[in-house]
Protein backbone atom coordinates (compact mmCIF):
# COMPACT_ATOMS: atom_id res chain seq x y z
CA UNK A 1 0.00 0.00 0.00
CA UNK A 2 2.69 2.48 1.00
CA UNK A 3 4.72 1.30 -1.96
CA UNK A 4 1.86 2.20 -4.27
CA UNK A 5 1.66 5.68 -2.88
CA UNK A 6 5.19 6.47 -3.96
CA UNK A 7 4.52 5.64 -7.57
CA UNK A 8 3.27 8.99 -8.71
CA UNK A 9 3.72 10.34 -12.21
CA UNK A 10 4.40 6.99 -13.79
CA UNK A 11 3.07 5.45 -16.90
CA UNK A 12 -0.17 3.67 -16.00
CA UNK A 13 -0.66 -0.01 -16.56
CA UNK A 14 -2.56 -0.29 -19.79
CA UNK A 15 -4.46 -3.16 -18.25
CA UNK A 16 -6.14 -0.79 -15.80
CA UNK A 17 -7.69 1.22 -18.61
CA UNK A 18 -11.20 0.27 -19.47
CA UNK A 19 -10.27 -0.20 -23.09
CA UNK A 20 -6.60 -1.17 -23.26
CA UNK A 21 -6.25 -0.30 -26.94
CA UNK A 22 -7.14 3.30 -26.31
CA UNK A 23 -4.26 5.77 -25.97
CA UNK A 24 -4.57 7.43 -22.58
CA UNK A 25 -1.40 9.51 -22.73
CA UNK A 26 1.01 9.57 -19.83
CA UNK A 27 -1.21 11.50 -17.41
CA UNK A 28 -4.76 10.25 -17.24
CA UNK A 29 -7.42 12.31 -15.45
CA UNK A 30 -8.10 9.57 -12.95
CA UNK A 31 -5.77 6.79 -11.95
CA UNK A 32 -7.15 4.65 -9.14
CA UNK A 33 -5.05 1.72 -7.92
CA UNK A 34 -5.98 -1.11 -5.60
CA UNK A 35 -8.71 0.97 -4.06
CA UNK A 36 -10.46 -0.62 -1.13
CA UNK A 37 -12.62 0.37 1.80
CA UNK A 38 -13.99 -1.50 4.78
CA UNK A 39 -16.95 -0.59 6.93
CA UNK A 40 -16.91 -2.44 10.22
CA UNK A 41 -14.90 -5.33 8.79
CA UNK A 42 -17.08 -5.56 5.68
CA UNK A 43 -15.24 -4.95 2.40
CA UNK A 44 -17.49 -2.59 0.45
CA UNK A 45 -14.90 -2.08 -2.28
CA UNK A 46 -11.95 -4.39 -2.90
CA UNK A 47 -8.97 -3.90 -5.21
CA UNK A 48 -10.65 -1.44 -7.55
CA UNK A 49 -8.43 -0.27 -10.42
CA UNK A 50 -9.44 2.23 -13.04
CA UNK A 51 -7.83 4.70 -15.38
CA UNK A 52 -9.79 7.34 -17.20
CA UNK A 53 -8.33 9.33 -20.10
CA UNK A 54 -8.68 13.03 -20.81
CA UNK A 55 -11.95 13.10 -22.71
CA UNK A 56 -13.27 9.64 -22.08
CA UNK A 57 -16.88 8.87 -21.24
CA UNK A 58 -16.80 5.89 -18.91
CA UNK A 59 -19.68 3.95 -17.44
CA UNK A 60 -19.75 2.18 -14.10
CA UNK A 61 -22.55 -0.34 -13.89
CA UNK A 62 -23.51 -3.16 -11.61
CA UNK A 63 -26.38 -4.50 -9.56
CA UNK A 64 -27.78 -2.54 -6.62
CA UNK A 65 -25.43 -2.57 -3.67
CA UNK A 66 -22.41 -3.42 -5.82
CA UNK A 67 -20.55 -0.41 -4.41
CA UNK A 68 -20.83 2.02 -7.32
CA UNK A 69 -21.72 5.11 -5.28
CA UNK A 70 -19.10 4.06 -2.72
CA UNK A 71 -16.49 4.33 -5.51
CA UNK A 72 -17.64 7.92 -6.15
CA UNK A 73 -17.51 8.63 -2.44
CA UNK A 74 -13.97 7.26 -2.29
CA UNK A 75 -12.80 9.30 -5.28
CA UNK A 76 -14.31 12.48 -3.80
CA UNK A 77 -13.02 11.61 -0.30
CA UNK A 78 -16.42 11.55 1.34
CA UNK A 79 -15.00 8.28 2.65
CA UNK A 80 -11.29 7.76 3.14
CA UNK A 81 -10.10 4.66 1.28
CA UNK A 82 -8.68 1.97 3.56
CA UNK A 83 -6.20 0.87 0.88
CA UNK A 84 -4.94 2.04 -2.47
CA UNK A 85 -4.11 5.31 -4.19
CA UNK A 86 -6.01 7.79 -6.31
CA UNK A 87 -4.19 10.15 -8.65
CA UNK A 88 -6.13 13.03 -10.12
CA UNK A 89 -4.35 14.43 -13.15
CA UNK A 90 -1.15 12.95 -11.78
CA UNK A 91 -1.58 14.36 -8.26
CA UNK A 92 -1.76 12.02 -5.30
CA UNK A 93 -4.95 12.67 -3.32
CA UNK A 94 -3.77 10.78 -0.26
CA UNK A 95 -3.99 13.76 2.10
CA UNK A 96 -6.80 15.60 0.37
CA UNK A 97 -10.33 16.18 1.61
CA UNK A 98 -13.51 16.62 -0.44
CA UNK A 99 -12.84 20.30 -1.00
CA UNK A 100 -9.29 19.78 -2.22
CA UNK A 101 -10.38 16.94 -4.50
CA UNK A 102 -12.85 19.32 -6.10
CA UNK A 103 -10.14 21.91 -6.57
CA UNK A 104 -7.91 19.24 -8.07
CA UNK A 105 -10.51 18.78 -10.78
CA UNK A 106 -13.30 16.41 -9.79
CA UNK A 107 -16.93 17.44 -9.59
CA UNK A 108 -19.91 15.23 -9.01
CA UNK A 109 -23.66 14.93 -8.84
CA UNK A 110 -25.58 12.86 -6.30
CA UNK A 111 -27.88 9.90 -6.61
CA UNK A 112 -30.41 11.55 -4.31
CA UNK A 113 -30.35 15.11 -5.60
CA UNK A 114 -28.51 17.53 -3.34
CA UNK A 115 -29.31 21.06 -4.43
CA UNK A 116 -29.43 24.19 -2.32
CA UNK A 117 -33.21 24.06 -2.30
CA UNK A 118 -34.02 27.43 -0.81
CA UNK A 119 -31.70 29.35 -3.12
CA UNK A 120 -32.29 30.45 -6.69
CA UNK A 121 -31.10 28.44 -9.68
CA UNK A 122 -28.58 31.16 -10.48
CA UNK A 123 -27.23 31.18 -6.93
CA UNK A 124 -26.81 27.41 -7.09
CA UNK A 125 -24.57 27.83 -10.11
CA UNK A 126 -22.76 30.78 -8.53
CA UNK A 127 -21.88 28.54 -5.59
CA UNK A 128 -20.27 26.23 -8.12
CA UNK A 129 -18.27 29.22 -9.36
CA UNK A 130 -17.16 29.99 -5.78
CA UNK A 131 -13.49 29.11 -6.22
CA UNK A 132 -13.15 30.33 -9.79
CA UNK A 133 -14.24 33.92 -9.32
CA UNK A 134 -13.04 35.12 -5.99
CA UNK A 135 -13.20 38.31 -3.99
CA UNK A 136 -12.64 38.72 -0.29
CA UNK A 137 -15.41 38.82 2.30
CA UNK A 138 -14.29 42.38 3.09
CA UNK A 139 -14.82 43.58 -0.46
CA UNK A 140 -18.23 41.92 -0.30
CA UNK A 141 -19.19 43.72 2.90
CA UNK A 142 -17.73 47.05 1.78
CA UNK A 143 -19.00 46.62 -1.79
CA UNK A 144 -15.60 47.45 -3.29
CA UNK A 145 -15.21 47.61 -7.09
CA UNK A 146 -13.93 44.04 -7.13
CA UNK A 147 -17.27 42.87 -5.75
CA UNK A 148 -19.25 44.45 -8.57
CA UNK A 149 -16.81 43.27 -11.22
CA UNK A 150 -16.74 39.65 -10.05
CA UNK A 151 -20.46 39.46 -9.36
CA UNK A 152 -21.14 40.65 -12.91
CA UNK A 153 -18.76 38.03 -14.28
CA UNK A 154 -20.38 35.35 -12.13
CA UNK A 155 -23.83 36.34 -13.30
CA UNK A 156 -22.79 36.13 -16.94
CA UNK A 157 -20.95 32.85 -16.48
CA UNK A 158 -23.88 31.33 -14.59
CA UNK A 159 -26.31 32.17 -17.38
CA UNK A 160 -23.86 30.88 -19.96
CA UNK A 161 -23.57 27.56 -18.14
CA UNK A 162 -27.32 27.31 -17.62
CA UNK A 163 -27.82 27.80 -21.34
CA UNK A 164 -26.22 24.37 -21.95
CA UNK A 165 -29.48 22.90 -20.74
CA UNK A 166 -31.58 25.82 -21.96
CA UNK A 167 -32.25 26.78 -18.36
CA UNK A 168 -31.22 30.45 -18.43
CA UNK A 169 -34.86 31.56 -18.16
CA UNK A 170 -35.23 29.74 -14.86
CA UNK A 171 -32.33 31.60 -13.21
CA UNK A 172 -34.54 33.32 -10.63
CA UNK A 173 -36.63 30.27 -9.72
CA UNK A 174 -36.05 28.62 -6.34
CA UNK A 175 -34.08 25.44 -6.97
CA UNK A 176 -36.28 23.30 -4.74
CA UNK A 177 -39.37 24.10 -6.78
CA UNK A 178 -37.90 22.91 -10.09
CA UNK A 179 -39.28 19.74 -11.64
CA UNK A 180 -37.25 16.62 -11.00
CA UNK A 181 -35.52 16.46 -14.37
CA UNK A 182 -34.52 20.11 -14.22
CA UNK A 183 -33.09 19.56 -10.73
CA UNK A 184 -30.85 16.79 -12.08
CA UNK A 185 -29.72 19.06 -14.90
CA UNK A 186 -29.06 21.92 -12.48
CA UNK A 187 -26.85 19.62 -10.42
CA UNK A 188 -24.79 18.91 -13.53
CA UNK A 189 -24.49 22.64 -14.30
CA UNK A 190 -23.41 23.34 -10.73
CA UNK A 191 -20.74 20.64 -10.96
CA UNK A 192 -19.55 22.00 -14.32
CA UNK A 193 -19.28 25.47 -12.82
CA UNK A 194 -16.32 24.28 -10.75
CA UNK A 195 -14.39 23.73 -13.98
CA UNK A 196 -13.67 20.03 -13.45
CA UNK A 197 -11.41 17.77 -15.44
CA UNK A 198 -13.56 14.80 -14.57
CA UNK A 199 -17.29 14.89 -13.99
CA UNK A 200 -18.86 12.10 -11.93
CA UNK A 201 -22.57 11.61 -12.62
CA UNK A 202 -24.46 9.38 -10.18
CA UNK A 203 -27.53 8.05 -12.00
CA UNK A 204 -28.14 11.19 -14.06
CA UNK A 205 -31.14 9.70 -15.84
CA UNK A 206 -32.94 8.42 -12.74
CA UNK A 207 -36.54 9.54 -12.76
CA UNK A 208 -36.36 10.91 -16.29
CA UNK A 209 -38.73 9.89 -19.07
CA UNK A 210 -37.30 8.37 -22.29
CA UNK A 211 -37.52 11.67 -24.09
CA UNK A 212 -35.61 13.48 -21.35
CA UNK A 213 -33.03 10.68 -21.22
CA UNK A 214 -32.51 11.01 -24.96
CA UNK A 215 -31.85 14.72 -24.49
CA UNK A 216 -29.54 14.04 -21.56
CA UNK A 217 -27.44 11.68 -23.69
CA UNK A 218 -26.96 14.38 -26.31
CA UNK A 219 -26.09 16.87 -23.62
CA UNK A 220 -23.51 14.63 -21.96
CA UNK A 221 -21.70 14.27 -25.28
CA UNK A 222 -22.07 18.00 -25.88
CA UNK A 223 -20.55 18.75 -22.46
CA UNK A 224 -17.62 16.48 -23.15
CA UNK A 225 -17.00 18.06 -26.56
CA UNK A 226 -17.39 21.68 -25.42
CA UNK A 227 -15.45 21.46 -22.17
CA UNK A 228 -13.03 18.73 -23.26
CA UNK A 229 -13.46 16.86 -19.97
CA UNK A 230 -13.80 13.25 -18.96
CA UNK A 231 -17.10 11.93 -17.65
CA UNK A 232 -17.68 8.88 -15.51
CA UNK A 233 -21.25 7.87 -14.87
CA UNK A 234 -23.21 5.39 -12.83
CA UNK A 235 -26.44 4.47 -14.51
CA UNK A 236 -29.04 1.74 -14.59
CA UNK A 237 -30.52 2.84 -17.92
CA UNK A 238 -28.72 0.49 -20.31
CA UNK A 239 -29.75 2.46 -23.40
CA UNK A 240 -27.89 5.46 -22.02
CA UNK A 241 -24.84 3.49 -20.90
CA UNK A 242 -24.50 1.48 -24.10
CA UNK A 243 -25.36 4.54 -26.19
CA UNK A 244 -22.74 7.01 -24.99
CA UNK A 245 -20.07 5.28 -22.94
CA UNK A 246 -16.87 4.45 -24.73
CA UNK A 247 -15.75 2.13 -21.99
CA UNK A 248 -17.73 0.34 -19.32
CA UNK A 249 -16.66 -1.28 -16.07
CA UNK A 250 -18.95 -3.73 -14.33
CA UNK A 251 -18.85 -3.84 -10.56
CA UNK A 252 -20.18 -6.66 -8.41
CA UNK A 253 -19.65 -7.14 -4.68
CA UNK A 254 -17.17 -4.25 -4.65
CA UNK A 255 -14.85 -5.64 -7.33
CA UNK A 256 -14.65 -5.11 -11.07
CA UNK A 257 -15.75 -8.28 -12.82
CA UNK A 258 -15.42 -7.04 -16.39
CA UNK A 259 -14.45 -4.04 -18.44
CA UNK A 260 -14.39 -3.15 -22.12
CA UNK A 261 -16.35 -1.55 -24.91
CA UNK A 262 -20.16 -1.70 -24.81
CA UNK A 263 -20.05 -4.56 -27.32
CA UNK A 264 -17.57 -6.52 -25.23
CA UNK A 265 -19.62 -6.00 -22.09
CA UNK A 266 -22.85 -7.04 -23.74
CA UNK A 267 -21.31 -10.32 -24.85
CA UNK A 268 -19.34 -11.04 -21.67
CA UNK A 269 -20.82 -14.18 -20.09
CA UNK A 270 -19.78 -13.12 -16.57
CA UNK A 271 -21.64 -9.86 -16.91
CA UNK A 272 -24.70 -11.49 -18.37
CA UNK A 273 -24.75 -13.89 -15.47
CA UNK A 274 -24.18 -11.29 -12.75
CA UNK A 275 -26.16 -8.46 -14.11
CA UNK A 276 -27.60 -8.22 -17.59
CA UNK A 277 -29.19 -11.64 -17.45
CA UNK A 278 -31.28 -10.67 -14.49
CA UNK A 279 -32.17 -7.36 -16.12
CA UNK A 280 -33.45 -9.05 -19.26
CA UNK A 281 -35.56 -11.45 -17.29
CA UNK A 282 -37.02 -8.56 -15.38
CA UNK A 283 -38.00 -6.87 -18.62
Amino acid sequence: MSENRKRTNMVPFPSDAIIPERDLGTRPVLDARHLGVEFGGLKAVDDFNMIIGRTEIAGLIGPNGAGKTTIFNLITKVYQPTTGTILIDGKDTHNMNTIQVNRAGIARTFQNIRLFDKMSVEDNVKIGLHNRMRYSAASGVLRLPNYWKKEKLMHEKALELLSIFDMQDMADVTAGSLPYGAQRRLEIVRALATDPKLLLLDEPAAGMNPHETEELMENIIKIRDTFQIAIMLIEHDMNLVMGICEGIAVLNYGSIIAKGTPEQIQSNPLVIEAYLGKQKEAK
Binding site: F39, T69, N73, V78, F110
Partner: protein, 293 residues
Protein backbone atom coordinates in the same frame (compact mmCIF):
# COMPACT_ATOMS: atom_id res chain seq x y z
CA UNK B 1 -10.32 12.63 55.53
CA UNK B 2 -11.64 15.57 53.52
CA UNK B 3 -10.57 13.71 50.41
CA UNK B 4 -12.75 10.76 51.37
CA UNK B 5 -15.62 12.99 52.31
CA UNK B 6 -15.34 14.87 49.00
CA UNK B 7 -15.21 11.58 47.15
CA UNK B 8 -18.42 10.42 48.83
CA UNK B 9 -20.14 13.72 48.13
CA UNK B 10 -18.97 13.53 44.54
CA UNK B 11 -20.30 10.02 44.07
CA UNK B 12 -23.59 11.03 45.64
CA UNK B 13 -23.96 14.11 43.42
CA UNK B 14 -22.77 12.03 40.48
CA UNK B 15 -25.46 9.43 41.18
CA UNK B 16 -28.08 12.14 40.81
CA UNK B 17 -26.50 13.26 37.55
CA UNK B 18 -26.45 9.63 36.48
CA UNK B 19 -30.17 9.17 37.10
CA UNK B 20 -30.96 12.32 35.11
CA UNK B 21 -28.46 11.35 32.42
CA UNK B 22 -30.17 7.97 32.02
CA UNK B 23 -33.32 9.81 30.97
CA UNK B 24 -31.36 12.03 28.57
CA UNK B 25 -29.48 9.20 27.03
CA UNK B 26 -32.56 7.02 26.51
CA UNK B 27 -34.48 9.82 24.85
CA UNK B 28 -31.49 10.82 22.76
CA UNK B 29 -30.86 7.25 21.72
CA UNK B 30 -34.43 6.60 20.70
CA UNK B 31 -35.99 9.89 19.63
CA UNK B 32 -32.62 11.33 18.46
CA UNK B 33 -33.35 14.62 20.17
CA UNK B 34 -31.86 16.65 22.98
CA UNK B 35 -34.75 17.05 25.38
CA UNK B 36 -33.77 20.38 26.84
CA UNK B 37 -36.84 20.32 29.10
CA UNK B 38 -35.70 17.18 30.90
CA UNK B 39 -34.05 19.26 33.62
CA UNK B 40 -37.29 21.08 34.29
CA UNK B 41 -39.19 17.84 34.73
CA UNK B 42 -36.80 17.26 37.66
CA UNK B 43 -37.95 20.53 39.18
CA UNK B 44 -41.62 19.60 38.74
CA UNK B 45 -40.99 16.26 40.44
CA UNK B 46 -39.36 17.99 43.40
CA UNK B 47 -42.24 20.47 43.75
CA UNK B 48 -44.84 17.69 43.67
CA UNK B 49 -42.99 15.78 46.36
CA UNK B 50 -42.60 18.97 48.40
CA UNK B 51 -46.32 19.72 48.32
CA UNK B 52 -47.23 16.08 48.87
CA UNK B 53 -45.22 15.84 52.08
CA UNK B 54 -45.63 19.38 53.42
CA UNK B 55 -49.21 20.26 52.47
CA UNK B 56 -51.11 17.11 51.57
CA UNK B 57 -49.71 15.10 54.44
CA UNK B 58 -48.44 12.15 52.44
CA UNK B 59 -45.58 9.98 53.63
CA UNK B 60 -42.23 10.60 51.91
CA UNK B 61 -42.35 7.29 50.05
CA UNK B 62 -45.87 7.95 48.82
CA UNK B 63 -44.84 11.42 47.72
CA UNK B 64 -42.15 9.86 45.53
CA UNK B 65 -44.74 7.66 43.88
CA UNK B 66 -47.07 10.60 43.28
CA UNK B 67 -44.23 12.72 41.87
CA UNK B 68 -43.18 9.90 39.57
CA UNK B 69 -46.75 9.47 38.34
CA UNK B 70 -47.18 13.18 37.67
CA UNK B 71 -43.85 13.44 35.85
CA UNK B 72 -44.61 10.36 33.78
CA UNK B 73 -47.83 11.92 32.58
CA UNK B 74 -46.06 15.22 32.04
CA UNK B 75 -43.34 13.55 29.98
CA UNK B 76 -45.85 11.76 27.78
CA UNK B 77 -47.92 14.91 27.28
CA UNK B 78 -44.86 16.99 26.35
CA UNK B 79 -43.78 14.38 23.86
CA UNK B 80 -47.22 14.07 22.27
CA UNK B 81 -47.91 17.80 22.03
CA UNK B 82 -44.55 19.35 21.31
CA UNK B 83 -42.14 16.76 19.93
CA UNK B 84 -44.24 14.23 18.05
CA UNK B 85 -45.42 16.77 15.44
CA UNK B 86 -41.75 17.52 14.74
CA UNK B 87 -40.63 13.93 14.13
CA UNK B 88 -39.43 14.78 10.60
CA UNK B 89 -38.28 18.34 11.27
CA UNK B 90 -34.67 19.52 11.47
CA UNK B 91 -32.75 19.09 14.72
CA UNK B 92 -32.57 22.89 14.96
CA UNK B 93 -36.37 23.12 15.05
CA UNK B 94 -36.70 20.32 17.59
CA UNK B 95 -34.07 21.80 19.87
CA UNK B 96 -35.63 25.26 19.82
CA UNK B 97 -38.99 23.70 20.62
CA UNK B 98 -37.44 21.80 23.50
CA UNK B 99 -35.99 25.06 24.80
CA UNK B 100 -39.48 26.52 24.53
CA UNK B 101 -40.90 23.64 26.57
CA UNK B 102 -38.17 24.14 29.16
CA UNK B 103 -39.11 27.79 29.57
CA UNK B 104 -42.79 26.97 29.58
CA UNK B 105 -42.30 24.58 32.50
CA UNK B 106 -40.14 27.06 34.42
CA UNK B 107 -42.61 29.88 33.97
CA UNK B 108 -45.62 27.72 34.74
CA UNK B 109 -43.86 26.72 37.95
CA UNK B 110 -43.23 30.38 38.65
CA UNK B 111 -46.89 31.12 38.13
CA UNK B 112 -48.17 28.22 40.21
CA UNK B 113 -45.58 27.99 42.97
CA UNK B 114 -44.11 31.49 43.00
CA UNK B 115 -40.55 32.69 42.82
CA UNK B 116 -39.75 32.35 46.53
CA UNK B 117 -37.40 29.42 47.12
CA UNK B 118 -38.97 26.55 49.05
CA UNK B 119 -37.05 24.93 51.81
CA UNK B 120 -37.20 21.29 50.79
CA UNK B 121 -37.28 18.86 53.69
CA UNK B 122 -35.23 15.77 52.94
CA UNK B 123 -37.41 12.72 52.41
CA UNK B 124 -34.67 10.56 53.90
CA UNK B 125 -34.54 10.88 57.71
CA UNK B 126 -32.34 8.03 58.84
CA UNK B 127 -29.61 10.00 60.53
CA UNK B 128 -26.00 10.47 59.54
CA UNK B 129 -23.30 7.88 59.78
CA UNK B 130 -20.28 9.05 61.68
CA UNK B 131 -16.96 7.31 61.18
CA UNK B 132 -13.45 7.75 62.55
CA UNK B 133 -14.59 9.61 65.66
CA UNK B 134 -16.72 12.00 63.66
CA UNK B 135 -13.99 12.88 61.22
CA UNK B 136 -15.90 11.39 58.33
CA UNK B 137 -19.63 11.98 58.17
CA UNK B 138 -21.69 10.27 55.54
CA UNK B 139 -25.20 11.65 55.13
CA UNK B 140 -28.18 9.31 54.85
CA UNK B 141 -29.26 11.00 51.63
CA UNK B 142 -25.91 10.22 50.01
CA UNK B 143 -26.28 6.53 50.78
CA UNK B 144 -29.87 6.37 49.61
CA UNK B 145 -28.96 8.25 46.42
CA UNK B 146 -26.18 5.88 45.50
CA UNK B 147 -28.38 2.87 46.28
CA UNK B 148 -31.23 4.30 44.17
CA UNK B 149 -28.86 4.86 41.30
CA UNK B 150 -27.61 1.27 41.42
CA UNK B 151 -31.13 -0.17 41.65
CA UNK B 152 -32.32 1.97 38.73
CA UNK B 153 -29.33 1.01 36.64
CA UNK B 154 -29.84 -2.70 37.24
CA UNK B 155 -33.57 -2.45 36.62
CA UNK B 156 -33.10 -0.52 33.37
CA UNK B 157 -30.47 -2.93 32.11
CA UNK B 158 -32.81 -5.81 32.82
CA UNK B 159 -35.70 -3.97 31.18
CA UNK B 160 -33.88 -3.13 27.95
CA UNK B 161 -32.35 -6.55 27.51
CA UNK B 162 -35.06 -8.90 28.76
CA UNK B 163 -38.48 -7.39 28.06
CA UNK B 164 -40.32 -7.03 24.77
CA UNK B 165 -40.63 -3.26 25.16
CA UNK B 166 -36.92 -3.03 25.96
CA UNK B 167 -36.05 -4.90 22.80
CA UNK B 168 -38.36 -2.60 20.85
CA UNK B 169 -36.48 0.35 22.31
CA UNK B 170 -33.15 -0.99 21.23
CA UNK B 171 -34.55 -1.73 17.77
CA UNK B 172 -35.92 1.81 17.39
CA UNK B 173 -32.65 3.32 18.51
CA UNK B 174 -30.74 1.26 15.91
CA UNK B 175 -33.02 1.99 12.97
CA UNK B 176 -36.42 3.58 13.32
CA UNK B 177 -37.57 2.67 9.81
CA UNK B 178 -36.51 -0.96 10.01
CA UNK B 179 -38.08 -1.33 13.46
CA UNK B 180 -41.37 0.01 12.11
CA UNK B 181 -41.25 -2.46 9.23
CA UNK B 182 -40.69 -5.28 11.70
CA UNK B 183 -43.91 -4.35 13.45
CA UNK B 184 -42.56 -2.27 16.32
CA UNK B 185 -44.92 0.50 17.33
CA UNK B 186 -42.45 3.38 17.14
CA UNK B 187 -44.74 6.05 18.59
CA UNK B 188 -45.60 3.88 21.56
CA UNK B 189 -41.94 3.03 22.12
CA UNK B 190 -40.97 6.70 22.13
CA UNK B 191 -43.81 7.47 24.55
CA UNK B 192 -42.65 4.75 26.93
CA UNK B 193 -39.10 6.10 26.72
CA UNK B 194 -40.28 9.55 27.69
CA UNK B 195 -42.39 8.08 30.46
CA UNK B 196 -39.47 6.18 31.97
CA UNK B 197 -37.11 9.11 31.57
CA UNK B 198 -39.55 11.49 33.24
CA UNK B 199 -40.28 9.12 36.12
CA UNK B 200 -36.53 8.87 36.73
CA UNK B 201 -36.32 12.66 36.57
CA UNK B 202 -38.85 12.85 39.42
CA UNK B 203 -36.68 10.55 41.54
CA UNK B 204 -33.60 12.59 40.66
CA UNK B 205 -35.35 15.83 41.54
CA UNK B 206 -36.39 14.59 44.95
CA UNK B 207 -32.92 13.25 45.72
CA UNK B 208 -31.32 16.45 44.45
CA UNK B 209 -33.47 18.63 46.68
CA UNK B 210 -33.01 16.27 49.61
CA UNK B 211 -29.27 16.89 49.52
CA UNK B 212 -29.38 20.60 48.58
CA UNK B 213 -32.70 21.81 49.88
CA UNK B 214 -33.36 25.00 47.89
CA UNK B 215 -36.26 24.51 45.48
CA UNK B 216 -37.00 27.15 42.82
CA UNK B 217 -38.49 27.09 39.32
CA UNK B 218 -34.96 27.19 37.90
CA UNK B 219 -33.63 24.45 40.18
CA UNK B 220 -33.61 21.84 37.43
CA UNK B 221 -32.02 23.68 34.58
CA UNK B 222 -28.35 23.63 35.61
CA UNK B 223 -28.34 20.00 36.84
CA UNK B 224 -30.20 19.15 33.63
CA UNK B 225 -27.47 20.61 31.46
CA UNK B 226 -24.77 19.00 33.58
CA UNK B 227 -26.52 15.65 33.32
CA UNK B 228 -26.56 16.04 29.57
CA UNK B 229 -22.83 16.65 29.84
CA UNK B 230 -22.62 13.42 31.80
CA UNK B 231 -24.57 11.55 29.13
CA UNK B 232 -22.23 12.87 26.43
CA UNK B 233 -19.23 12.09 28.62
CA UNK B 234 -20.25 8.47 28.96
CA UNK B 235 -21.37 8.15 25.35
CA UNK B 236 -24.82 9.23 24.36
CA UNK B 237 -27.30 6.37 23.96
CA UNK B 238 -25.40 4.09 26.32
CA UNK B 239 -26.94 3.26 29.72
CA UNK B 240 -23.71 2.21 31.48
CA UNK B 241 -22.13 5.26 29.86
CA UNK B 242 -24.66 7.59 31.44
CA UNK B 243 -23.99 6.01 34.83
CA UNK B 244 -20.22 6.20 34.48
CA UNK B 245 -20.32 9.71 33.04
CA UNK B 246 -22.65 10.94 35.77
CA UNK B 247 -20.56 9.64 38.64
CA UNK B 248 -17.27 10.84 37.13
CA UNK B 249 -18.75 14.26 36.51
CA UNK B 250 -20.10 14.52 40.05
CA UNK B 251 -16.72 13.60 41.50
CA UNK B 252 -14.91 16.04 39.20
CA UNK B 253 -17.29 18.84 40.10
CA UNK B 254 -16.91 18.38 43.84
CA UNK B 255 -13.12 18.05 43.61
CA UNK B 256 -12.96 21.08 41.30
CA UNK B 257 -14.97 23.12 43.74
CA UNK B 258 -12.95 22.13 46.77
CA UNK B 259 -9.43 22.07 45.33
CA UNK B 260 -9.52 24.62 42.49
CA UNK B 261 -12.17 27.26 42.97
CA UNK B 262 -15.76 27.33 44.19
CA UNK B 263 -16.68 29.89 41.55
CA UNK B 264 -15.28 27.82 38.73
CA UNK B 265 -17.01 24.52 39.52
CA UNK B 266 -19.49 24.90 36.68
CA UNK B 267 -16.80 26.13 34.31
CA UNK B 268 -14.78 22.98 35.01
CA UNK B 269 -17.75 20.74 34.28
CA UNK B 270 -18.43 22.56 31.01
CA UNK B 271 -14.76 22.48 30.07
CA UNK B 272 -14.92 18.69 30.40
CA UNK B 273 -17.93 18.59 28.09
CA UNK B 274 -16.05 20.59 25.50
CA UNK B 275 -12.89 18.52 25.75
CA UNK B 276 -14.80 15.25 25.49
CA UNK B 277 -16.80 16.39 22.49
CA UNK B 278 -13.69 17.59 20.72
CA UNK B 279 -11.42 14.69 21.54
CA UNK B 280 -13.85 11.78 21.61
CA UNK B 281 -17.31 12.93 20.51
CA UNK B 282 -18.69 9.42 20.96
CA UNK B 283 -17.92 9.57 24.68
CA UNK B 284 -16.33 6.89 26.83
CA UNK B 285 -18.68 4.05 25.91
CA UNK B 286 -20.49 5.31 22.80
CA UNK B 287 -20.61 4.06 19.22
CA UNK B 288 -19.65 5.90 16.04
CA UNK B 289 -22.35 6.78 13.52
CA UNK B 290 -21.69 7.46 9.84
CA UNK B 291 -23.65 9.92 7.75
CA UNK B 292 -25.09 8.32 4.65
CA UNK B 293 -24.28 9.95 1.31
Amino acid sequence: MSFLSNLINGISLGSIYAIIALGYTMVYGIAKMLNFAHGDVIMVGAYISFYATQHWGLTPLLSVVVAMAVCTVLGIVIEKLAYKPLRSATSLAVLITAIGVSYLLQNLALLIWGSNPKNFVSIVQLGKISLFNGELIISDVAIVTVLCCIVIMVALTWFTSKTKMGRAMRAVSEDKGAAQLMGVNVNQTISVTFAIGSALAAVAGILLCSSSPVLMPTTGSMPGIKAFTAAVFGGIGSLPGAMLGGILLGVIEIFGKSYISTDLGDAIVFAILIIILLVKPTGLLGKKVNEKV
